[in-house]
Amino acid sequence: MIRIGENEIQVVRKADGSATVWIDGVAQDAALRDGPAGADLQVGDRSERIWYVVDGDTVYVHAFGRAHAVPVVDPEERKAREAGGEDTVVAPTPGTVVTVSVADGDEVQDRQVLLVIESMKMQSEITASRAGVVERVHLQVGESFEKGAALVSLVAEDEEAAEEEEIA
């Protein structure tokens, strides 16, 4: 269920352009109608002239004389994003290595290109599943591999944290 702030939200839009917004299971009649300047927001008996703009998961709303940034998030999506990726990047298909862009010990960002592989005459980029440090690049340019073969391993996250602590 979508969340706005700490609240679980559901919206049921009605034929007359109004809607019921369910905030944590409590119904609230509301309508948002775009006008020539800004928009009219009706919530229950209260009516407000507001301005809004949507940028990705944030809805910016100018209301009550000031601006508000309201995050509209899918907690599942966030959970998946924050969970981070696997330690080892494996081959999605059989193929050969075309280029290798990282070396052991390199720091990499999430989704950074690690190597380019060729499979069935198509080249594709293999990217990091999370930010981290490269423990080992398993293959060299020109080497071929099977589906599921380990391509690049990252230093395990708990090890990484342990190392950082040691340094600290």
Binding site: Q10, V12, R13, G25, A27, E76
Partner: protein, 533 residues
Amino acid sequence: MRRLVSNVDTTSDQFRTNREANLGLAADLKKHLDAARYDRPERSLKRLEERGKLTVRQRLELLLDPGTPFLELSPLAAMDAYNGDAPQGLVVTGIGIINGREVMITAGDSSLKGGSWYPLSVHKIVRALKIALRNRLPVLNLVDSGGAFLPLGDEIYAAGGHIYYSLCRLSAEGIPTLALTLGPATAGGAYLPTLCDQSIIVRDTGFVFLAGPPLVKAATGEDVTNEELGGADMHAGVSGTSDYAVDDEREGLALCREIVGTWPKQTKTDVDRREIEEPFYDPDELYGIVPDDIKKQFDVREVIARIVDGSRFVEFKPDYGDTMVTGWAYLMGMKIGILGNNGVLFSEAANKASQFMQLCDRDGVPLLFLHNITGFMVGLEYERGGITKNGAKMLMVQANVTVPKISVYVNASQGAGNYAMAGPAWDPRFVFAWPNSRSSIMGAEQAVNVLTQVRIANLKREEQREPTDEEVARIRDDVGDYFERTSHPYHLTSELRDDGLIDPTDTRAVLGLAFEAALNAPITRTPGGVLRI
């Protein structure tokens, strides 16, 4: 449009008597509905909870858009069967709103008997899928059934196959189908999710296989677990039998909502619509209008006045065939043609109905049949007047109209009158009944008289004697009991002869939802002029 003028005296004794009787019936209906939906042993509910499972009602609430209507179908199915072991047939069917779309939902109820399918369970699902196909409603199956109740296997076997056939037909018709497997789906039941266009399975509790581990062990000697044989990860990751694996029921239900949200927006058949207007006359007065005795007469216009928008009604042929009331009204904003009986059908009434149905069909106006009919008139004069021929014309026209037909039994619906008024055998989109109604092959009293005469005649022929008064009374009682029981709405609804019993005051809402659902299917009109029959 003119408003109907009501002649009901709400202060009369009859009104009060009727009201008391009908409120009693309504309360009884509610009691039965509550019991069928919610009465479950504490331990059954606890067992569900322990396995991380929700009740079927909880699942529906999570699935449906909050604050939107749900038209449950045949909620009292099997109430009169299997010693009450399978309330609702252990499956909930109905039309609900998911992300703004109307969806036919079938939802297995494993709170009793592991959600086993009884013969009526199967018929109920078949009926739901038939409604879905006829009205082009997308289908969502919440699969949670231990499988067929084998002691009644022969009654289940053939009809059960029709479930899977229907899913294949739905797919071919381009009507989306989706399944969420929250429990076992075994043997034939495995096809319930698998024949859907898309299939989701819940980890740990959802299983799909032709035969479970014990059967496999017996057949091939293999030792396997449920998860290995038909679990979510196996089917979503290895066999491809399912398309999505989810961690729990809530996630599965959320995914259902998301997938339904990607389906194309339904386009409705264009019918004449106007702003919704509440009836001028209070629907609550229906309780006082409907007689406390099936034999008592009342004016069906008083019912129309309490279910249509603004109580407005344009009556067609008001001075002709007065036992048949025909005319146009708007119901929840949709223009419909209404046929309502004021008792027995005569030739003029039948012809008037035929003419009116042709008019509505040509204009694409859906039809509502309000059953208050004891049958066609009998007797020499009427046969000479062609009553059988005129009845046949009415059946011919009614059977072949292309607009949606919906029937409501507001009082008696007996004999060929039920056929003429689009009874269940005549492919209406929906049939609903009021708790005061009765439906049988002929009126109970006439049937008793006829059957008693037959039995007495038999007795005379076989034993060459007059029956004693006691014997006559016993015969009358036997026949009477049978007719009283089998024409009773609880019996009929238990046997799925209708799509549900409804409180009279819910009629307007039920019909609004039913007509709205029916408009998902296009109307393909057959060209032809209207005969002044």
